[in-house]
Symmetry: C2
């Protein structure tokens, strides 16, 4: 059993919103940075993979937050990997405060792609390195749920600009989450209810395209769908307010 590695964080002033608590986006950012740093440390980071024209792509993610910590609060993220079969790597995260109390649980599914063919790879190509880090410890929350249909009550348009894109000229994961939170009534973000966020990344979207962000409120669930110029969904998500 591999207990994974632990990384230290703190809620910095640039991570909080007007309630002086960490934004959902900043917490996602810490989680994804942990994934990047931990993979790099174990020898299967994007920096190593890119030398063979390979890269990790985040497919689905589920995040549960009981609270969003206040500015200057220190916290820890422990991460470990589960076997996700031939094509998926499952990476889990547990977020704890200074007293060791868990306030966040995350599980994520990644595939490895061949950057030249833009196709998924069998993980056996890196299996030796990757397998030695696989743990029996289960994911700390239910695996990411599919969001099938969204019937938007509100939509906004967003033209993809320079500050939205990553090293690949694709829209950065964090920006999709920003676009979804930005369409919510701001009061909902100020309530700080415990929440679960499921995100499903379907296709890439590129610089210069225009995205349509759709939002449906269904009881205690906020549903989102981001579509590309051609009408195809690029990302769907749901926030369950608990």
């Amino acid at each position: 059993m591999n207990a994974g590695n632990v990384y230290d964080f703190s809620v910095e002033p640039q991570d909080v919103d007007f309630t002086l608590r960490a934004t959902i986006t900043s917490m996602c950012n810490c989680v994804l940075n942990t994934a990047g740093v931990d993979a790099q440390r174990n020898g299967f980071g994007t920096d190593t993979l890119l030398k063979n024209d390979r890269s990790w792509v985040l497919s689905r993610m589920a995040l549960e937050f009981d609270i969003l910590p206040e500015q200057y609060t220190p916290f820890k993220i422990r991460t470990w990997i589960n076997d996700g079969g031939r094509l998926l790597s499952v990476r889990n995260f547990l977020l704890t405060d200074d007293g060791g109390n868990v306030f966040g649980r995350v599980t994520s599914q990644w595939c490895m792609i061949d950057m030249v063919r833009r196709a998924p790879l069998d993980l056996s190509s890196v299996v030796e390195l990757h397998r030695s880090y696989v743990s029996d410890e289960p994911a700390p929350c239910d695996r990411p749920r599919k969001v099938l249909t969204v019937n938007p009550q509100h939509t906004t348009e967003h033209r993809i600009v320079y500050s939205d894109i990553d090293f690949n000229r694709h829209v950065n994961t964090m920006r999709y989450i920003d676009m979804m939170l930005d369409i919510l009534p701001i009061e909902m973000l100020a309530e700080h209810r415990p929440l679960r966020l499921d995100v499903h990344f379907i296709r890439e979207s590129r610089y210069g395209h225009t995205l349509t962000v759709g939002y449906e409120q269904n009881g205690d669930v906020s549903l989102f769908e981001i579509k590309s110029d051609d009408g195809e969904a690029v990302c769907r998500a749901a926030i369950e307010w608990r």
Copy 2:
């Protein structure tokens, strides 16, 4: 003479653009974080000031970058303060690589405001703490230049959303810089010419307002003006490509 304090940074994957070099915005972010952390360490940070309903407000800033460092490059920022008279604190920054070579120079002007009256304060109210850190070492580059008139050849509109605003519900400084870079032809950002950026923050803009971003290219100088709903300028800037 106070030689100031030195802080360590590294260009993280989330700081680079598609050229795998740090974005101008991410470098500004490191500079402003240094200002925040250094002021906090010296006892006149926003956390302390807010207890008396006071806060620092960035008025003008000039940044010179000879290069923008590549992903994973470690660098250092040294910061020190000059006396800027009764109403201004001048904070300077020198950015150096691991070999001690200077690649960035920044000088910035801050005023302290009374958050209740929304009016600037005489710095003598914190003068004892602040004065003990004032250095004779001059700023590492020319002080921020005024940008007087911009005759936009291109404009875009931007409605201010949740992800644009800070703890004060005002647009975050970094987002203004993003909006200006986003209107530039993307090829200009890929050229990585040495540059000087002068930014002048004129007024605050708030959640729900719509901004108009204007851009004029005048030889080797890119000029920007961001206006609010009411037609008043909230921010002007110039990038001199060297």
